[in-house]
Amino acid sequence: MNPLISTLITIGVVLGGVLGGCSYLIWLERKVAAWMQDRVGPNRVGKFGLLQPIADGMKFLLKEDVIPSHVNKVLFLLAPTISVMTTMLALAVVPIGPTTTDSTSWQAMIAPGIDIGIVFIFAVTSLAVYGIILGGWASNNKYSALGSLRASAQVVSYEIPLGMSILGIALLSGSLNLETILQRQAEGGIGSWNIWFQPLAAMIFFTSALAESNRLPFDLPECEQELVGGYHTEYSALKFGMFFLAEYTHVITVSFLMAIMFFGGWNFPWIATPDSHYAGAWIVKFAVLHTKVLACITFVMLLRWTLPRFRFDQLMGLAWKVFIPLSLCNVVCTMFVRQFSLSWWWLLPVSLALVIITGLISMTPSPKRAASPLQH
């Protein structure tokens, strides 16, 4: 097939999947929230409220599109566009299904064979903060400005542990290409999934990624109780919808990355291995990958109603004083194992030991803090 046409088809499939997926993720989020708070949740439009996302989408489209008179109009309109564009661009290098090394056949990703893979995703998503900053600043409103100031500090800080946490995987796989990382895990089976060797990195990556996408417990840029709506206070109708879409797309991308980098991607014992060539094997692999992604998304949603929001100094302390040193230790341990050709299984107890040591350090009361209780 013409590579141009097949790429266009892939882009269409990914775009349609993400847009539809996002609207049903919002439905899922509301159902999970209702279930955790012992409510019923959306149940008026369609069976189990299944048509609710369509009704919400229509509402986004048909509502009056208000642009307040005191805003900087160019930047006000640019901000949600940047948010959506950057998060969509990041999906270009994520394999959404099993890929092959055969370059002539159809690949289940938009841009296969990108050597820098994961670094590209970090680069593009690091631009997403412009959407938040510009949105908050252009709104010309104190709450919005405060929200965007928080967001810029938060996102810039958490990019560092996010990038450092995957260095261990790059060392183990010898590549930053997501397909290669996946392939190495798939060939070794469940025993070679990166989660066994990099559990600490998985935790740091997942938490930092949550902070990057401004999800609870890291939603300080938009927390309702303090800042009305934070950076999107002045946004209405489809412009607000685009911010919403960007947040959910970010969650989807993060879940794909978790499934691919740490949980073996489409690999599952017996039913989906590199050797399984039975009829419909491709579908099974596709389903396995997407089940893992859905599980990760559901976990994100459960977290939302489990953990309270961080205070701002706690948020900064977590990034700079806990995650960055921990991820550095993780990289050093991985380098040790690679350099002296030790068994990779050493990394599992070492990671657990690092977590326990961190916990012990944080529980030891510091004499300075005890002396002045007001200065936390």
Binding site: D115, V119, A123, L127, Y130, L134, W137, S148, S152, V156
Partner: protein, 271 residues
């Protein structure tokens, strides 16, 4: 493929073909730079930018059009016009945003020169962190609109003259380079693996051949097809330039410690 950077410039006989566009660019810049008062209308701004772009276009002399040429045109136009908008904008926040456009365009140029990692790293560090910090500071400082001293450039004529002299001499210098054919410029190992012509070695510049560096450092041996890839970059950084990289890292660490030492403590009242 990259016909526009050296070959066509080298064909230009008269220096007037360089001097004239440089003067036009300089005049347009003086016209554009903010000097208080009401400022230019949108139309004259666009006209000045178009003049600059046209002059640059005449400097490059675009030959046959390929996809890479179009991309090169887009990215270089973005970089140059973004840079001009950055220094001529009256609003500091817009200046920072134009700076982001410049960085992204330059990263696009890196991509065209098959340096994807450098490009992505520059986006992360510059566009994703440093310019965000600029915006952060600007927004804290200037929520009530820009101050008068920020909205004017201090000596537009002098800066433009000096800048244009530098620019013109740079263009003249580049145009006097010998014509490089791509086959010689791209490092291609011969079957024996002895000689690699990385750059114009004939011009009196001294470049190491791979045989020489291999004697000095076995790590800098580039296997076939690794040039431009992540492995090639890593091998080069931690093989050819190991001391420079380590020295830069140490310098940054010292600067970090110094910044922390100089920053006021919380007990001293600030922060």
């Amino acid at each position: 493929m990259f016909s526009l950077d050296t070959t066509l410039l080298a064909q230009m006989e008269t220096p007037w073909a360089i001097i004239l566009p440089v003067i036009v660019i300089g005049l347009s810049l003086v016209w554009l730079l903010p000097r208080g008062g009401k400022g230019l209308s949108r139309l004259s701004q666009i006209l000045a930018l178009a003049l600059i772009w046209g002059s640059l276009f005449s400097l490059t002399g675009l030959g046959h059009i390929a996809v890479t040429d179009v991309l090169f045109g887009v990215f270089s136009t973005g970089a140059i016009l973004g840079g001009i908008c950055m220094i001529t904008s009256r609003n500091s926040a817009y200046s920072a945003l134009w700076f982001a456009i410049v960085t992204l365009s330059v990263c696009g140029l890196f991509l065209l020169r098959s340096a994807p990692f450098l490009s992505a790293a520059t986006v992360i560090v510059y566009a994703g962190a440093i310019i965000v910090t600029f915006l952060f500071v600007l927004m804290l400082a200037q929520q009530e609109g820009t101050a008068g001293y920020d909205a004017t450039s201090s000596s537009p004529l002098l800066t433009t003259v000096f800048g244009m002299v530098l620019f013109g001499s740079l263009i003249l210098g580049i145009s006097s380079w010998p014509k490089i054919s791509i086959s010689a410029a791209s490092p291609a190992t011969s079957a024996a693996g002895t000689e690699v012509a990385k750059a114009p070695a004939a011009q009196g510049h001294r470049y190491f051949t791979s045989a020489e560096t291999e004697q000095a450092n076995a790590w800098s041996r580039h296997p076939e097809g690794e040039v431009g890839s992540l492995h090639g970059l890593g091998r080069s950084l931690f093989g050819d330039y190991l001391f420079a990289v380590e020295f830069a890292g140490t310098l940054l660490l010292v600067a970090c410690i110094g910044a922390i030492a100089m920053a006021p403590r919380r007990s001293q009242g600030t922060l």
